[in-house]
């Protein structure tokens, strides 16, 4: 949960509470539908880091997994996952 970027919730200036509710609901539903536990996310993180560090030097301390609601599909079935990985030597 902690790794999810919640800034999109607060980034937008919305004074209508129904819009705030919709934004929050979108994220909550994406999470629920993924059916992804904290352990599972942690395993995913470890695996991703292991694979990438086989090829390049990366900062293993820092990896952001973001589930975005910005490009949330109309039918509510698809949402992109963004990975932010920091390379150590360029």
């Amino acid at each position: 949960m902690g790794r999810l970027d919640l800034s999109s919730l607060f980034g937008k200036k919305n004074n209508k509470s129904s819009e705030v509710a919709k934004d929050r609901l979108k994220l909550v539903l994406i999470h629920d539908r993924m059916n992804c536990s904290t352990e599972l996310l942690e395993m995913m993180r470890t695996d991703i880091l292991a694979v990438i560090s086989k090829y390049v030097d990366i900062d293993t301390e820092e990896l952001n997994i973001q589930i975005s609601n910005m490009e949330y599909e109309e039918d509510g079935k698809k949402a992109p996952i963004y990975l932010q990985i920091f390379l150590l030597k360029i």
Binding site: K16, V28, L29
Partner: protein, 265 residues
């Protein structure tokens, strides 16, 4: 021909029991033979909402465990022809009944009734599994709130995975004046999130509190807007195409006066 319909929501307090009582009554008023099953064992409430709490002789668990016959437990509602209630046990818990027993019970009732309505308990545990065990279709009750829609989404997933794919959505306690000023999610928004066909929109209506106080289903008397919404749901359950009530009218007196004078948007 007969149908077993479970009324469910996940979250508590969104109006499952009120919906069960009113849709059941409305179906009976349409001339159907209807039995309401209170599947909320341990927290029975459908009897008080229906105003039948003084007539309970034995309950669902007594029937399942063979202590009394089904027709001894069924309470006939004298106000509405063809309407019966099978009350829940109050002193037992949800594990007192198994999904198999519930399915058998629903199938027995099917022979005698056009509609078997099962009022599901809140939650996703044993009580929910029991309530949906014999169901052909589900009515999912939600309100335009984040928590209620979230729980409805969860319930939809569980119904699908349990083979109840025929489901429809009832959005309860809609306050149009709040939707208009942007302080409540609109019906379209909720339907968009849940992607389940809509079968009813029920306005938040003081009459529900008043009729529930008295133990009379709101749908039985002609005036209340919520009562009308429940009658419309019953007709849609029967397969009729019914237009949705314009909730913008008659919601508050100022709007109505504005409308009369042409100030309304």
């Amino acid at each position: 021909m007969s149908e077993v319909i479970v009324i469910t929501s996940g979250k508590g307090g969104v109006g499952k029991t009120t919906t069960s009582a009113n849709v059941g009554t409305a179906l009976a008023l349409q001339g159907k033979r209807v039995v309401l099953i209170d599947a909320d064992i341990g927290l029975r409430n459908l009897d008080v909402v229906m105003g039948l709490e003084n007539r309970i002789v034995c309950d669902l668990v007594d029937v399942v465990e063979g202590r009394c016959r089904l027709n001894q437990a069924l309470i006939k509602d004298k106000r509405f022809e063809g309407l019966y209630l099978l009350p829940a046990a109050q002193t037992r818990d949800k594990n007192a009944v198994s999904p198999e027993q519930m399915k058998k019970l629903c199938d027995t009732l099917r022979e005698d009734f056009d509609y078997v309505l099962v009022d599901c308990p809140a939650g996703i545990e044993q009580g929910f599994k029991n309530a949906i065990a014999g169901a052909d279709r589900a009515l999912i009750v939600t309100t335009p709130e984040v928590s209620a829609v979230r729980d409805a989404d969860r319930i939809i997933g569980l119904l699908e995975s349990n083979g109840v794919s025929n489901m429809h959505l009832i959005i309860n306690r809609v306050r149009m004046h709040m939707v208009k000023r942007g302080d409540m999610m609109a019906v379209e928004d909720v339907v968009g999130f849940l992607a389940v066909g809509l079968i009813g929109v029920v306005p938040d209506d003081e009459n529900i509190v008043i009729t529930t106080n008295k133990g009379e289903p709101a749908t039985a008397e002609g005036t209340s807007l919520a009562g009308k919404a429940f009658r419309n749901i019953a007709r849609r359950v029967l397969g009729e195409e019914v237009a949705y009530i314009d909730l913008n009218t008659s919601h508050n007196i100022v709007d109505r006066i504005k409308k009369v004078f042409g100030f309304s948007n």
